[in-house]
Amino acid sequence: MTASTAVFDRSVPRMEELATNSQFSGVVPISYATVALISALRRVEELMRLPDNWDSYGSPHIETAAAQRILQVLLAAQSEYSPAPQIVPVSGGGMQIEWAVGNCELEVEALPDGSVEFLFVEGDRTLEMPLPATQIELFIPTLMSQLCGTEAYAASLR
């Protein structure tokens, strides 16, 4: 049993990590978190420590609203079949998650005000749209299934 499959085995004690960073408005309990998710959460915390002017062009630090939204996206995207995300700071105070599988890419960006936009790329085709916060739990798994291959992703959610 691999570490990632172990988290779906109910005989294995739950992995829980509490986000206690005071910059967040609450505790984020994570049950059955994959190793990749825990790593991603630590990465978000790391980027939250960037100071003003981190990009050398006068950007403010990463806004808490953006980080909270990125956490929401990461939780919605969590699956055994999800590729490891690349998490990038964005000038202006936002943050972006990037996934790539074959000729498909998904970029989900949390803007400084907490709004979300995504870009899905498949070969030469692109789809770019805002994503309302209330729709994240609905649309992110759909986008991930498109990215990873529907059958493999759906199997991971069963």
Binding site: S56, V88, E107, P112, V121
Partner: protein
């Protein structure tokens, strides 16, 4: 803020525009062939929507990286953002409270008509067409 005007006289299409790349592993995207490209996030700025660059003919690599020895540096031709409808305009910095004086500073500005539904695709296109001037080895 009124839209910035494109300045094709001061900045020719063939001009290389340089942008520093923050030394963070997320900013470097592996291409699968052992090389790296800059993340599309390098060509986004959500504060003003205008992306700072340096007009290469007015400066040097050493000057642009003087205070940022760990940063990498990418270049795109001015024609690239212009082909996407962006304006490229000089924006020399003098007496800024945060940024050092820089006569080579310029801005890549989205057209006012550009909706939010193309900004990310455009940033990705610029990143795909960027070339490394200085790539710290290994980046991360």
């Amino acid at each position: 803020m009124p839209p910035r005007s494109d300045d094709r006289v001061s900045i020719r299409d063939e001009e290389d525009l340089w942008r520093r790349v923050f030394p963070d592993r997320g900013c470097f995207v592996p291409t699968g062939s052992g090389t790296w490209r800059p993340s599309s996030a390098i060509f986004l700025d959500r504060r003003t929507r205008e992306v700072s660059v340096h007009i290469s003919s007015l400066t040097t690599v050493e000057a642009v990286l003087a205070s940022f020895p760990d940063h990498s540096l990418v270049a795109i031709k001015a024609a690239v953002p212009r082909a996407l409808g962006y304006a490229v305009t000089p924006d020399p910095i003098h007496d800024d409270p945060v940024l050092p004086d820089d006569a080579s500073h310029a801005l890549i500005c989205p057209p006012p008509s550009a909706g939010i539904n193309k900004i990310k695709a455009h940033a990705r296109e610029m990143a795909l067409k960027a070339t490394w001037v200085v790539l710290r080895d290994p980046p991360y």
